[in-house]
Protein backbone atom coordinates (compact mmCIF):
# COMPACT_ATOMS: atom_id res chain seq x y z
CA UNK A 1 0.00 0.00 0.00
CA UNK A 2 2.70 2.39 0.95
CA UNK A 3 4.55 1.67 -2.26
CA UNK A 4 1.62 2.56 -4.51
CA UNK A 5 1.02 5.81 -2.68
CA UNK A 6 4.67 6.62 -3.21
CA UNK A 7 4.38 5.79 -6.87
CA UNK A 8 1.33 7.84 -7.65
CA UNK A 9 2.68 10.79 -5.67
CA UNK A 10 5.88 10.38 -7.63
CA UNK A 11 3.96 10.39 -10.86
CA UNK A 12 2.19 13.62 -9.97
CA UNK A 13 5.49 15.14 -8.95
CA UNK A 14 7.11 14.22 -12.22
CA UNK A 15 4.15 15.41 -14.27
CA UNK A 16 4.09 18.66 -12.36
CA UNK A 17 7.80 19.15 -12.83
CA UNK A 18 7.60 18.50 -16.54
CA UNK A 19 4.72 20.93 -16.88
CA UNK A 20 6.57 23.60 -14.93
CA UNK A 21 9.64 23.18 -17.14
CA UNK A 22 7.53 23.40 -20.27
CA UNK A 23 5.82 26.56 -19.08
CA UNK A 24 9.18 28.08 -18.17
CA UNK A 25 10.61 27.26 -21.55
CA UNK A 26 7.56 28.35 -23.49
CA UNK A 27 7.49 31.76 -21.88
CA UNK A 28 11.24 32.29 -21.64
CA UNK A 29 11.70 34.26 -24.87
CA UNK A 30 9.24 36.83 -23.58
CA UNK A 31 11.29 37.92 -20.63
CA UNK A 32 14.72 36.48 -21.39
CA UNK A 33 17.44 38.49 -23.09
CA UNK A 34 18.33 37.63 -26.66
CA UNK A 35 21.65 36.12 -25.71
CA UNK A 36 20.09 34.06 -22.93
CA UNK A 37 17.57 32.77 -25.44
CA UNK A 38 20.47 31.86 -27.68
CA UNK A 39 22.12 29.90 -24.88
CA UNK A 40 18.95 27.97 -24.19
CA UNK A 41 18.55 27.14 -27.88
CA UNK A 42 21.93 25.43 -27.74
CA UNK A 43 21.10 23.68 -24.48
CA UNK A 44 17.89 22.33 -25.94
CA UNK A 45 19.73 21.30 -29.07
CA UNK A 46 22.14 19.21 -27.01
CA UNK A 47 19.25 17.63 -25.12
CA UNK A 48 17.70 16.63 -28.44
CA UNK A 49 20.96 15.14 -29.68
CA UNK A 50 21.58 13.28 -26.44
CA UNK A 51 18.08 11.88 -26.06
CA UNK A 52 18.06 10.74 -29.69
CA UNK A 53 21.46 9.15 -29.26
CA UNK A 54 20.29 7.22 -26.21
CA UNK A 55 17.17 6.14 -28.12
CA UNK A 56 19.36 3.80 -30.13
CA UNK A 57 22.74 3.37 -28.45
CA UNK A 58 21.39 3.35 -24.92
CA UNK A 59 19.44 0.14 -25.13
CA UNK A 60 21.08 -1.80 -27.93
CA UNK A 61 24.65 -1.25 -26.84
CA UNK A 62 25.70 -0.38 -30.39
CA UNK A 63 27.81 2.77 -30.07
CA UNK A 64 26.82 5.19 -32.80
CA UNK A 65 29.40 7.90 -33.26
CA UNK A 66 27.53 9.50 -36.13
CA UNK A 67 25.51 12.21 -34.39
CA UNK A 68 27.56 14.92 -36.08
CA UNK A 69 26.90 13.31 -39.47
CA UNK A 70 23.12 13.38 -39.12
CA UNK A 71 23.13 16.81 -37.54
CA UNK A 72 25.21 18.10 -40.44
CA UNK A 73 22.95 16.46 -43.01
CA UNK A 74 20.01 18.28 -41.48
CA UNK A 75 21.93 21.54 -41.51
CA UNK A 76 22.90 21.19 -45.15
CA UNK A 77 19.39 20.14 -46.14
CA UNK A 78 18.17 23.38 -44.60
CA UNK A 79 20.91 25.26 -46.42
CA UNK A 80 19.70 23.95 -49.77
CA UNK A 81 16.01 24.46 -49.04
CA UNK A 82 16.21 27.77 -47.16
CA UNK A 83 19.05 29.66 -48.83
CA UNK A 84 19.59 33.38 -48.51
CA UNK A 85 19.42 33.76 -52.27
CA UNK A 86 17.11 33.32 -54.03
CA UNK A 87 15.19 32.84 -50.77
CA UNK A 88 13.32 30.01 -49.06
CA UNK A 89 12.18 27.22 -51.34
CA UNK A 90 9.87 25.76 -48.73
CA UNK A 91 8.23 27.08 -45.58
CA UNK A 92 10.35 26.65 -42.48
CA UNK A 93 8.42 23.76 -40.86
CA UNK A 94 8.72 21.79 -44.10
CA UNK A 95 12.44 22.49 -44.15
CA UNK A 96 12.84 21.13 -40.63
CA UNK A 97 10.90 18.00 -41.50
CA UNK A 98 12.92 17.62 -44.68
CA UNK A 99 16.11 17.85 -42.65
CA UNK A 100 14.85 15.06 -40.45
CA UNK A 101 13.71 12.96 -43.38
CA UNK A 102 16.95 13.18 -45.31
CA UNK A 103 18.84 12.10 -42.19
CA UNK A 104 16.30 9.33 -41.65
CA UNK A 105 16.83 7.95 -45.14
CA UNK A 106 20.57 8.27 -44.86
CA UNK A 107 20.51 6.40 -41.57
CA UNK A 108 18.41 3.65 -43.12
CA UNK A 109 21.07 3.12 -45.78
CA UNK A 110 23.97 3.24 -43.34
CA UNK A 111 22.11 0.95 -40.96
CA UNK A 112 21.26 -1.61 -43.61
CA UNK A 113 24.91 -1.82 -44.61
CA UNK A 114 26.53 -1.85 -41.17
CA UNK A 115 24.04 -3.15 -38.63
CA UNK A 116 24.25 -6.66 -40.00
CA UNK A 117 27.86 -6.73 -38.91
CA UNK A 118 29.61 -6.75 -35.58
CA UNK A 119 29.27 -3.72 -33.36
CA UNK A 120 32.88 -2.69 -33.96
CA UNK A 121 32.37 -2.26 -37.69
CA UNK A 122 29.35 -0.15 -36.91
CA UNK A 123 31.40 2.04 -34.57
CA UNK A 124 34.14 2.43 -37.16
CA UNK A 125 31.71 3.24 -39.92
CA UNK A 126 29.74 5.77 -37.91
CA UNK A 127 32.87 7.42 -36.56
CA UNK A 128 34.22 8.07 -40.02
CA UNK A 129 30.84 9.13 -41.38
CA UNK A 130 31.09 12.75 -40.28
CA UNK A 131 34.63 12.94 -41.66
CA UNK A 132 33.40 11.46 -44.94
CA UNK A 133 30.53 13.91 -45.23
CA UNK A 134 32.89 16.75 -44.39
CA UNK A 135 35.10 15.81 -47.32
CA UNK A 136 32.15 15.34 -49.66
CA UNK A 137 30.86 18.80 -48.82
CA UNK A 138 34.30 20.36 -49.19
CA UNK A 139 34.55 18.79 -52.63
CA UNK A 140 31.10 19.99 -53.59
CA UNK A 141 31.63 23.53 -52.40
CA UNK A 142 35.10 23.87 -53.84
CA UNK A 143 34.67 22.16 -57.17
CA UNK A 144 31.01 22.40 -58.02
CA UNK A 145 29.68 25.41 -56.20
CA UNK A 146 32.87 27.41 -56.46
CA UNK A 147 32.89 28.97 -53.00
CA UNK A 148 32.98 27.80 -49.44
CA UNK A 149 30.01 27.73 -47.11
CA UNK A 150 26.27 28.15 -47.39
CA UNK A 151 24.30 31.27 -46.54
CA UNK A 152 20.80 30.72 -45.26
CA UNK A 153 17.80 32.97 -44.86
CA UNK A 154 18.24 33.94 -41.24
CA UNK A 155 15.62 33.47 -38.55
CA UNK A 156 15.34 35.25 -35.23
CA UNK A 157 16.42 33.66 -31.99
CA UNK A 158 12.79 33.67 -30.93
CA UNK A 159 11.67 31.64 -33.93
CA UNK A 160 14.56 29.25 -33.55
CA UNK A 161 13.81 28.86 -29.86
CA UNK A 162 10.25 27.73 -30.44
CA UNK A 163 11.16 25.43 -33.28
CA UNK A 164 13.84 23.75 -31.21
CA UNK A 165 11.43 23.54 -28.27
CA UNK A 166 8.87 21.74 -30.42
CA UNK A 167 11.53 19.32 -31.71
CA UNK A 168 12.65 18.76 -28.13
CA UNK A 169 9.17 17.90 -26.92
CA UNK A 170 8.64 15.56 -29.85
CA UNK A 171 11.99 13.86 -29.32
CA UNK A 172 11.42 13.25 -25.65
CA UNK A 173 7.89 12.08 -26.36
CA UNK A 174 9.12 9.69 -29.03
CA UNK A 175 11.83 8.36 -26.73
CA UNK A 176 9.28 7.82 -23.98
CA UNK A 177 6.76 6.07 -26.21
CA UNK A 178 9.38 3.87 -27.84
CA UNK A 179 10.69 2.77 -24.46
CA UNK A 180 7.29 1.51 -23.44
CA UNK A 181 6.47 -0.03 -26.80
CA UNK A 182 7.17 -3.35 -28.42
CA UNK A 183 10.03 -1.74 -30.31
CA UNK A 184 11.59 -0.67 -27.05
CA UNK A 185 11.21 -4.15 -25.62
CA UNK A 186 12.84 -5.62 -28.70
CA UNK A 187 15.74 -3.18 -28.46
CA UNK A 188 16.27 -3.95 -24.81
CA UNK A 189 16.33 -7.65 -25.58
CA UNK A 190 18.92 -7.03 -28.29
CA UNK A 191 21.05 -5.13 -25.80
CA UNK A 192 20.78 -7.97 -23.29
CA UNK A 193 21.42 -10.86 -25.67
CA UNK A 194 21.17 -10.32 -29.40
CA UNK A 195 21.42 -14.07 -30.06
CA UNK A 196 18.55 -14.95 -27.76
CA UNK A 197 16.44 -12.10 -29.11
CA UNK A 198 16.90 -13.33 -32.67
CA UNK A 199 15.96 -16.84 -31.63
CA UNK A 200 12.80 -15.57 -29.99
CA UNK A 201 11.62 -14.15 -33.28
CA UNK A 202 13.00 -10.62 -33.11
CA UNK A 203 14.14 -9.43 -36.53
CA UNK A 204 17.19 -7.84 -34.99
CA UNK A 205 18.51 -6.15 -38.13
CA UNK A 206 15.21 -4.44 -38.85
CA UNK A 207 14.69 -3.34 -35.27
CA UNK A 208 18.17 -1.84 -35.13
CA UNK A 209 17.87 -0.13 -38.49
CA UNK A 210 14.49 1.41 -37.76
CA UNK A 211 15.45 2.71 -34.35
CA UNK A 212 18.72 4.04 -35.71
CA UNK A 213 16.83 5.87 -38.44
CA UNK A 214 14.26 7.31 -36.04
CA UNK A 215 16.99 8.68 -33.82
CA UNK A 216 18.69 10.17 -36.87
CA UNK A 217 15.46 11.95 -37.82
CA UNK A 218 15.53 14.07 -34.70
CA UNK A 219 19.25 14.81 -35.05
CA UNK A 220 18.63 15.98 -38.61
CA UNK A 221 15.68 18.11 -37.56
CA UNK A 222 17.87 19.76 -34.93
CA UNK A 223 20.51 20.50 -37.53
CA UNK A 224 17.92 21.96 -39.86
CA UNK A 225 16.71 24.23 -37.08
CA UNK A 226 20.13 25.48 -36.06
CA UNK A 227 21.42 26.24 -39.54
CA UNK A 228 19.09 29.16 -40.29
CA UNK A 229 19.64 30.51 -36.78
CA UNK A 230 23.36 30.62 -37.49
CA UNK A 231 22.70 32.02 -40.95
CA UNK A 232 25.89 30.50 -42.33
CA UNK A 233 27.28 26.99 -42.28
CA UNK A 234 30.28 25.27 -43.78
CA UNK A 235 31.59 21.71 -43.56
CA UNK A 236 33.72 22.41 -40.49
CA UNK A 237 30.80 23.85 -38.54
CA UNK A 238 28.17 21.37 -39.68
CA UNK A 239 30.11 18.12 -39.38
CA UNK A 240 32.07 18.89 -36.25
CA UNK A 241 33.04 15.68 -34.43
CA UNK A 242 32.24 17.51 -31.21
CA UNK A 243 28.54 16.97 -31.91
CA UNK A 244 29.22 13.24 -31.80
CA UNK A 245 31.26 13.52 -28.64
CA UNK A 246 28.99 15.70 -26.50
CA UNK A 247 25.88 13.46 -26.57
CA UNK A 248 28.04 10.52 -25.53
CA UNK A 249 29.51 12.50 -22.63
CA UNK A 250 26.13 13.81 -21.57
CA UNK A 251 24.40 10.45 -21.75
CA UNK A 252 27.14 8.60 -19.91
CA UNK A 253 27.31 11.28 -17.24
CA UNK A 254 23.58 11.51 -16.78
CA UNK A 255 23.04 7.78 -16.95
CA UNK A 256 21.03 5.91 -19.55
CA UNK A 257 18.69 3.77 -17.50
CA UNK A 258 16.03 6.41 -17.08
CA UNK A 259 14.75 8.89 -19.60
CA UNK A 260 15.67 11.93 -17.54
CA UNK A 261 19.32 10.89 -17.20
CA UNK A 262 20.40 12.14 -20.64
CA UNK A 263 18.34 15.30 -20.12
CA UNK A 264 20.12 16.11 -16.87
CA UNK A 265 23.52 15.34 -18.34
CA UNK A 266 22.78 17.43 -21.42
CA UNK A 267 21.67 20.48 -19.49
CA UNK A 268 24.68 20.40 -17.19
CA UNK A 269 27.28 20.06 -19.92
CA UNK A 270 25.57 22.27 -22.45
CA UNK A 271 25.43 25.07 -19.93
CA UNK A 272 29.05 24.53 -18.94
CA UNK A 273 30.10 24.47 -22.56
CA UNK A 274 28.39 27.74 -23.30
CA UNK A 275 29.85 29.32 -20.21
CA UNK A 276 33.44 28.27 -20.88
CA UNK A 277 33.88 28.06 -24.62
CA UNK A 278 34.87 31.64 -25.27
CA UNK A 279 37.36 32.08 -22.45
CA UNK A 280 38.76 28.57 -22.09
CA UNK A 281 38.13 26.85 -25.43
CA UNK A 282 40.77 24.15 -25.19
CA UNK A 283 40.68 23.65 -21.45
CA UNK A 284 37.02 22.84 -21.25
CA UNK A 285 37.22 20.26 -24.01
CA UNK A 286 40.18 18.76 -22.23
CA UNK A 287 38.20 18.68 -19.00
CA UNK A 288 35.23 17.07 -20.73
CA UNK A 289 37.45 14.31 -22.06
CA UNK A 290 38.78 13.68 -18.58
CA UNK A 291 35.28 13.70 -17.10
CA UNK A 292 34.08 11.17 -19.65
CA UNK A 293 36.89 8.80 -18.82
CA UNK A 294 36.43 9.21 -15.08
CA UNK A 295 32.70 8.57 -15.29
CA UNK A 296 33.11 5.48 -17.43
CA UNK A 297 35.64 4.01 -15.05
CA UNK A 298 34.19 5.04 -11.70
CA UNK A 299 30.49 5.69 -12.26
CA UNK A 300 29.40 3.64 -15.26
CA UNK A 301 25.73 4.03 -14.46
CA UNK A 302 26.02 7.79 -14.52
CA UNK A 303 24.23 10.13 -12.16
CA UNK A 304 20.91 8.35 -12.45
CA UNK A 305 22.71 5.11 -11.70
CA UNK A 306 23.25 6.57 -8.27
CA UNK A 307 19.52 7.17 -7.81
CA UNK A 308 18.56 3.56 -6.95
CA UNK A 309 21.35 3.51 -4.38
CA UNK A 310 20.19 6.80 -2.91
CA UNK A 311 16.59 5.58 -2.94
CA UNK A 312 17.63 2.49 -1.01
CA UNK A 313 19.44 4.60 1.56
CA UNK A 314 16.43 6.91 1.80
CA UNK A 315 14.07 3.99 2.31
CA UNK A 316 16.38 2.66 4.98
CA UNK A 317 16.34 5.97 6.81
CA UNK A 318 12.54 6.25 6.58
CA UNK A 319 12.12 2.69 7.81
CA UNK A 320 14.38 3.29 10.77
CA UNK A 321 12.55 6.49 11.68
CA UNK A 322 9.21 4.70 11.45
CA UNK A 323 10.43 1.83 13.58
CA UNK A 324 11.69 4.33 16.10
CA UNK A 325 8.20 5.94 16.24
CA UNK A 326 6.48 2.55 16.60
CA UNK A 327 8.66 1.41 19.46
CA UNK A 328 7.85 4.68 21.23
CA UNK A 329 4.16 3.91 20.80
CA UNK A 330 4.64 0.48 22.32
CA UNK A 331 6.40 2.04 25.26
CA UNK A 332 3.54 4.46 25.81
CA UNK A 333 0.90 1.71 25.83
Amino acid sequence: MDISKFTSRKFLLVAGLVLAILVFLATFPIYGSNSAVGVWIIIMMYVILTVSWVMFSGSTGYMSLAVAAFFGIGAYTAAFLYPRTPGPLLPLPAVIIAGGLVSFIFALLVGLVTLRLKGMYFAIFTFGLSVLLYHIMVFYELQIQGFRGQRLTPITNQTAFYIVLVILVLTVLAAYLIRRSRLGLAMQSIGESEDAAAHMGVNTTMVKVITFAISAFFMGAAGAALAPKWGYIDPTVAFNMFYSFMPVLMAVFGGMRELYGPVVGAVIFAYTERALRLRFPYQYMLAFGIVLILIIIFLPGGLTGLVPKLQDKLRGVIARLRKGGQSEQHVNT
Binding site: G61, M63, L65, V113, T114, R116, L117, K118, G119, M120, Y121, A123, I124, F125, F127, G128, V131, L132, H135, I136, V138, F139, L142, Q143, M241, F245, V248, L249, V252, Y282, Q283, M285, L286, F288, G289, I290, V291, L292, I293, I296, I297, P300
Partner: protein
Protein backbone atom coordinates in the same frame (compact mmCIF):
# COMPACT_ATOMS: atom_id res chain seq x y z
CA UNK B 1 49.27 10.52 -68.36
CA UNK B 2 53.00 10.95 -68.71
CA UNK B 3 55.44 8.42 -67.38
CA UNK B 4 56.70 11.06 -64.99
CA UNK B 5 53.25 11.37 -63.47
CA UNK B 6 52.99 7.60 -63.18
CA UNK B 7 56.26 7.36 -61.31
CA UNK B 8 55.27 10.25 -59.07
CA UNK B 9 51.91 8.68 -58.31
CA UNK B 10 53.42 5.30 -57.52
CA UNK B 11 56.18 6.67 -55.34
CA UNK B 12 53.91 8.96 -53.35
CA UNK B 13 51.44 6.09 -53.16
CA UNK B 14 54.06 3.89 -51.58
CA UNK B 15 55.15 6.66 -49.25
CA UNK B 16 51.64 7.36 -48.05
CA UNK B 17 50.93 3.65 -48.06
CA UNK B 18 53.87 3.02 -45.80
CA UNK B 19 52.64 5.59 -43.31
CA UNK B 20 49.11 4.23 -43.51
CA UNK B 21 50.45 0.71 -43.01
CA UNK B 22 52.40 1.73 -39.92
CA UNK B 23 49.43 3.58 -38.46
CA UNK B 24 47.03 0.76 -39.28
CA UNK B 25 49.28 -1.95 -37.87
CA UNK B 26 49.50 0.05 -34.69
CA UNK B 27 45.74 0.34 -34.44
CA UNK B 28 45.38 -3.31 -35.37
CA UNK B 29 47.65 -4.56 -32.65
CA UNK B 30 45.85 -2.41 -30.10
CA UNK B 31 42.50 -3.83 -31.08
CA UNK B 32 43.67 -7.32 -31.88
CA UNK B 33 45.42 -7.93 -28.58
CA UNK B 34 44.15 -5.37 -26.09
CA UNK B 35 40.68 -5.23 -27.64
CA UNK B 36 40.73 -1.44 -27.57
CA UNK B 37 39.55 0.38 -30.67
CA UNK B 38 41.73 3.41 -30.17
CA UNK B 39 39.86 6.36 -31.67
CA UNK B 40 42.62 8.66 -30.41
CA UNK B 41 45.27 6.90 -32.51
CA UNK B 42 45.55 9.75 -34.99
CA UNK B 43 46.10 12.23 -32.16
CA UNK B 44 49.24 10.34 -31.17
CA UNK B 45 50.42 10.60 -34.77
CA UNK B 46 49.76 14.32 -34.61
CA UNK B 47 51.64 14.78 -31.33
CA UNK B 48 54.62 12.88 -32.69
CA UNK B 49 54.61 15.14 -35.73
CA UNK B 50 54.56 18.21 -33.50
CA UNK B 51 57.32 16.85 -31.28
CA UNK B 52 59.49 16.31 -34.33
CA UNK B 53 58.80 19.86 -35.47
CA UNK B 54 59.70 21.18 -32.02
CA UNK B 55 62.86 19.09 -31.86
CA UNK B 56 63.95 20.32 -35.24
CA UNK B 57 63.04 23.98 -34.99
CA UNK B 58 63.90 24.55 -31.34
CA UNK B 59 66.60 22.00 -30.62
CA UNK B 60 67.99 21.33 -34.09
CA UNK B 61 67.56 17.59 -33.66
CA UNK B 62 66.98 16.00 -37.02
CA UNK B 63 63.92 13.86 -37.63
CA UNK B 64 65.74 10.57 -37.91
CA UNK B 65 67.07 11.02 -34.41
CA UNK B 66 63.58 12.06 -33.40
CA UNK B 67 62.44 8.60 -34.39
CA UNK B 68 64.83 7.17 -31.84
CA UNK B 69 63.46 9.50 -29.17
CA UNK B 70 59.75 9.30 -29.98
CA UNK B 71 59.64 5.55 -30.36
CA UNK B 72 60.47 4.64 -26.76
CA UNK B 73 58.57 7.68 -25.51
CA UNK B 74 55.35 6.59 -27.18
CA UNK B 75 55.94 2.98 -26.20
CA UNK B 76 56.11 4.11 -22.60
CA UNK B 77 53.10 6.43 -22.84
CA UNK B 78 51.02 3.74 -24.49
CA UNK B 79 52.07 1.22 -21.87
CA UNK B 80 51.14 3.63 -19.07
CA UNK B 81 47.81 4.59 -20.59
CA UNK B 82 46.81 0.98 -20.93
CA UNK B 83 48.08 0.01 -17.51
CA UNK B 84 46.10 2.79 -15.84
CA UNK B 85 42.98 3.33 -17.90
CA UNK B 86 42.26 0.21 -19.86
CA UNK B 87 43.42 -2.39 -17.38
CA UNK B 88 41.17 -0.82 -14.73
CA UNK B 89 38.34 -0.81 -17.21
CA UNK B 90 38.96 -4.43 -18.07
CA UNK B 91 38.90 -5.52 -14.46
CA UNK B 92 35.66 -3.70 -13.81
CA UNK B 93 33.86 -4.70 -16.99
CA UNK B 94 30.97 -7.15 -16.61
CA UNK B 95 31.66 -8.74 -19.99
CA UNK B 96 34.12 -8.58 -22.91
CA UNK B 97 31.46 -6.85 -25.01
CA UNK B 98 30.92 -4.25 -22.29
CA UNK B 99 34.67 -3.73 -22.10
CA UNK B 100 34.95 -3.14 -25.83
CA UNK B 101 32.10 -0.65 -25.73
CA UNK B 102 33.50 1.18 -22.74
CA UNK B 103 37.06 1.26 -24.01
CA UNK B 104 35.76 2.72 -27.26
CA UNK B 105 34.23 5.59 -25.36
CA UNK B 106 37.30 6.05 -23.19
CA UNK B 107 39.37 6.29 -26.35
CA UNK B 108 36.94 8.92 -27.59
CA UNK B 109 37.58 10.89 -24.42
CA UNK B 110 41.31 10.41 -24.87
CA UNK B 111 40.95 11.94 -28.33
CA UNK B 112 39.78 15.21 -26.87
CA UNK B 113 42.32 15.15 -24.09
CA UNK B 114 45.31 14.63 -26.37
CA UNK B 115 44.02 16.97 -29.04
CA UNK B 116 43.45 19.81 -26.63
CA UNK B 117 46.73 19.35 -24.82
CA UNK B 118 48.34 19.69 -28.24
CA UNK B 119 46.26 22.80 -28.94
CA UNK B 120 47.34 24.33 -25.65
CA UNK B 121 51.00 23.63 -26.39
CA UNK B 122 51.26 24.29 -30.10
CA UNK B 123 48.13 26.20 -31.07
CA UNK B 124 45.82 25.75 -34.02
CA UNK B 125 47.96 26.93 -36.93
CA UNK B 126 49.72 24.53 -39.29
CA UNK B 127 53.50 24.59 -39.41
CA UNK B 128 56.25 23.04 -41.45
CA UNK B 129 59.96 22.64 -41.24
CA UNK B 130 62.49 22.11 -43.93
CA UNK B 131 65.00 19.33 -43.71
CA UNK B 132 66.87 17.66 -46.51
CA UNK B 133 64.62 19.07 -49.12
CA UNK B 134 67.27 18.71 -51.73
CA UNK B 135 66.33 16.84 -54.86
CA UNK B 136 66.85 13.20 -55.61
CA UNK B 137 66.36 11.64 -58.98
CA UNK B 138 64.44 8.38 -59.22
CA UNK B 139 63.58 6.95 -62.61
CA UNK B 140 63.90 10.36 -64.12
CA UNK B 141 61.64 12.10 -61.65
CA UNK B 142 62.69 14.62 -59.04
CA UNK B 143 61.80 13.83 -55.46
CA UNK B 144 62.75 15.60 -52.27
CA UNK B 145 65.26 13.67 -50.24
CA UNK B 146 63.13 13.80 -47.11
CA UNK B 147 60.23 12.02 -48.71
CA UNK B 148 62.54 9.35 -50.09
CA UNK B 149 64.01 8.80 -46.66
CA UNK B 150 60.56 8.73 -45.10
CA UNK B 151 59.50 6.16 -47.65
CA UNK B 152 62.52 4.02 -46.96
CA UNK B 153 62.05 4.16 -43.21
CA UNK B 154 58.33 3.43 -43.47
CA UNK B 155 58.99 0.43 -45.69
CA UNK B 156 61.81 -0.87 -43.57
CA UNK B 157 60.00 -0.54 -40.26
CA UNK B 158 56.74 -1.79 -41.70
CA UNK B 159 58.33 -4.93 -43.05
CA UNK B 160 60.36 -5.39 -39.87
CA UNK B 161 57.29 -5.14 -37.70
CA UNK B 162 55.32 -7.48 -39.93
CA UNK B 163 58.11 -10.05 -39.78
CA UNK B 164 58.46 -9.58 -36.04
CA UNK B 165 54.82 -10.33 -35.44
CA UNK B 166 54.61 -13.29 -37.78
CA UNK B 167 57.91 -15.06 -37.18
CA UNK B 168 59.52 -14.17 -33.89
CA UNK B 169 58.83 -15.78 -30.54
CA UNK B 170 57.57 -12.61 -28.87
CA UNK B 171 55.45 -12.11 -31.96
CA UNK B 172 53.94 -15.55 -31.49
CA UNK B 173 53.22 -14.73 -27.87
CA UNK B 174 51.45 -11.59 -28.99
CA UNK B 175 49.37 -13.47 -31.50
CA UNK B 176 48.55 -16.11 -28.93
CA UNK B 177 47.41 -13.44 -26.50
CA UNK B 178 45.23 -11.96 -29.23
CA UNK B 179 43.63 -15.29 -30.11
CA UNK B 180 42.89 -16.53 -26.64
CA UNK B 181 44.05 -14.48 -23.69
CA UNK B 182 42.96 -17.02 -21.08
CA UNK B 183 44.85 -19.91 -22.57
CA UNK B 184 47.82 -17.74 -23.31
CA UNK B 185 47.89 -16.82 -19.64
CA UNK B 186 47.86 -20.47 -18.71
CA UNK B 187 50.78 -21.13 -21.00
CA UNK B 188 52.96 -18.74 -19.13
CA UNK B 189 52.42 -15.57 -21.09
CA UNK B 190 52.10 -12.68 -18.68
CA UNK B 191 48.89 -11.08 -19.88
CA UNK B 192 49.29 -8.14 -17.54
CA UNK B 193 52.47 -7.22 -19.32
CA UNK B 194 51.65 -8.27 -22.87
CA UNK B 195 48.43 -6.28 -23.19
CA UNK B 196 49.85 -2.90 -22.15
CA UNK B 197 52.99 -3.66 -24.10
CA UNK B 198 51.02 -4.24 -27.25
CA UNK B 199 49.06 -1.09 -26.70
CA UNK B 200 52.38 0.68 -26.30
CA UNK B 201 53.65 -0.91 -29.51
CA UNK B 202 50.64 0.48 -31.28
CA UNK B 203 51.40 3.93 -29.92
CA UNK B 204 55.02 3.50 -30.95
CA UNK B 205 53.99 2.83 -34.52
CA UNK B 206 51.74 5.88 -34.43
CA UNK B 207 54.67 7.89 -33.20
CA UNK B 208 56.93 6.79 -36.00
CA UNK B 209 54.20 7.46 -38.53
CA UNK B 210 53.89 10.96 -37.11
CA UNK B 211 57.61 11.66 -37.36
CA UNK B 212 57.71 10.50 -40.97
CA UNK B 213 54.63 12.52 -41.86
CA UNK B 214 56.13 15.68 -40.44
CA UNK B 215 59.05 15.25 -42.80
CA UNK B 216 56.86 15.48 -45.87
CA UNK B 217 53.71 17.39 -44.95
CA UNK B 218 52.67 20.34 -42.80
CA UNK B 219 51.81 19.64 -39.19
CA UNK B 220 48.54 20.82 -37.66
CA UNK B 221 46.57 19.85 -34.58
CA UNK B 222 43.57 18.95 -36.69
CA UNK B 223 45.41 16.36 -38.79
CA UNK B 224 44.87 13.52 -36.35
CA UNK B 225 41.25 12.75 -37.12
CA UNK B 226 41.88 12.06 -40.80
CA UNK B 227 44.61 9.58 -39.97
CA UNK B 228 42.47 7.87 -37.36
CA UNK B 229 39.75 7.38 -39.94
CA UNK B 230 42.23 6.17 -42.56
CA UNK B 231 43.75 3.73 -40.08
CA UNK B 232 40.26 2.54 -39.13
CA UNK B 233 39.36 1.98 -42.75
CA UNK B 234 42.57 0.07 -43.42
CA UNK B 235 42.05 -2.07 -40.33
CA UNK B 236 38.46 -2.79 -41.31
CA UNK B 237 39.53 -3.60 -44.85
CA UNK B 238 42.29 -5.93 -43.78
CA UNK B 239 40.12 -7.56 -41.15
CA UNK B 240 39.83 -6.39 -37.58
CA UNK B 241 42.90 -7.55 -35.74
CA UNK B 242 44.87 -8.86 -38.69
CA UNK B 243 48.35 -7.33 -38.83
CA UNK B 244 49.17 -8.69 -42.30
CA UNK B 245 45.82 -7.35 -43.48
CA UNK B 246 46.64 -3.89 -42.13
CA UNK B 247 50.06 -3.99 -43.75
CA UNK B 248 48.77 -4.84 -47.19
CA UNK B 249 45.64 -2.73 -46.83
CA UNK B 250 47.74 0.30 -45.97
CA UNK B 251 49.70 0.09 -49.19
CA UNK B 252 46.60 -0.56 -51.25
CA UNK B 253 44.93 2.55 -49.87
CA UNK B 254 48.13 4.51 -50.31
CA UNK B 255 48.27 3.76 -54.01
CA UNK B 256 44.53 4.23 -54.50
CA UNK B 257 44.73 7.54 -52.67
CA UNK B 258 47.62 8.65 -54.79
CA UNK B 259 45.75 7.87 -57.99
CA UNK B 260 42.60 9.60 -56.81
CA UNK B 261 44.64 12.60 -55.67
CA UNK B 262 45.89 12.97 -59.24
CA UNK B 263 42.34 13.28 -60.45
CA UNK B 264 40.62 15.11 -57.61
CA UNK B 265 42.47 15.66 -54.39
CA UNK B 266 39.43 16.43 -52.24
CA UNK B 267 37.89 13.06 -53.00
CA UNK B 268 40.67 10.92 -51.54
CA UNK B 269 38.89 10.18 -48.24
CA UNK B 270 35.64 9.66 -50.08
CA UNK B 271 37.25 7.02 -52.25
CA UNK B 272 38.60 5.22 -49.18
CA UNK B 273 35.15 5.23 -47.67
CA UNK B 274 33.60 3.95 -50.86
CA UNK B 275 36.03 1.03 -50.86
CA UNK B 276 35.17 0.30 -47.25
CA UNK B 277 31.47 0.41 -47.97
CA UNK B 278 31.76 -1.93 -50.93
CA UNK B 279 33.85 -4.35 -48.94
CA UNK B 280 31.55 -4.32 -45.95
CA UNK B 281 28.66 -5.20 -48.19
CA UNK B 282 30.50 -7.85 -50.17
CA UNK B 283 32.92 -9.43 -47.69
CA UNK B 284 32.15 -8.54 -44.10
CA UNK B 285 35.22 -10.33 -42.77
CA UNK B 286 37.65 -8.09 -44.60
CA UNK B 287 40.41 -9.04 -46.99
CA UNK B 288 42.32 -11.38 -44.74
CA UNK B 289 40.56 -11.03 -41.47
CA UNK B 290 39.60 -13.37 -38.72
CA UNK B 291 35.96 -13.15 -37.63
Amino acid sequence: MSSETVVRVIVSGILNGGVYALAAMGLSIQYGVARVLNLSHGEFIMVAAWLTWTFFTRLEINPLISVAITAPFFLGIGFLIHRTLFTTLKNKAPSPAAFEGNSLLVAFGLLYIVQNIALLIWGGLPRTYVWLSGGVNILGVQFSLNSVIALAVALALGVAFYVFVSRSRPGKAIRAAAEDPATAGLMGININRVLPLCFGLGALLAGIAGVLLSMCYPVSTSMGLNYTVIALIVVALGGLGSIPGSFIGGFILGIVGSIVAQLESTLVMVSFYAILMILLVARPKGLLGKS
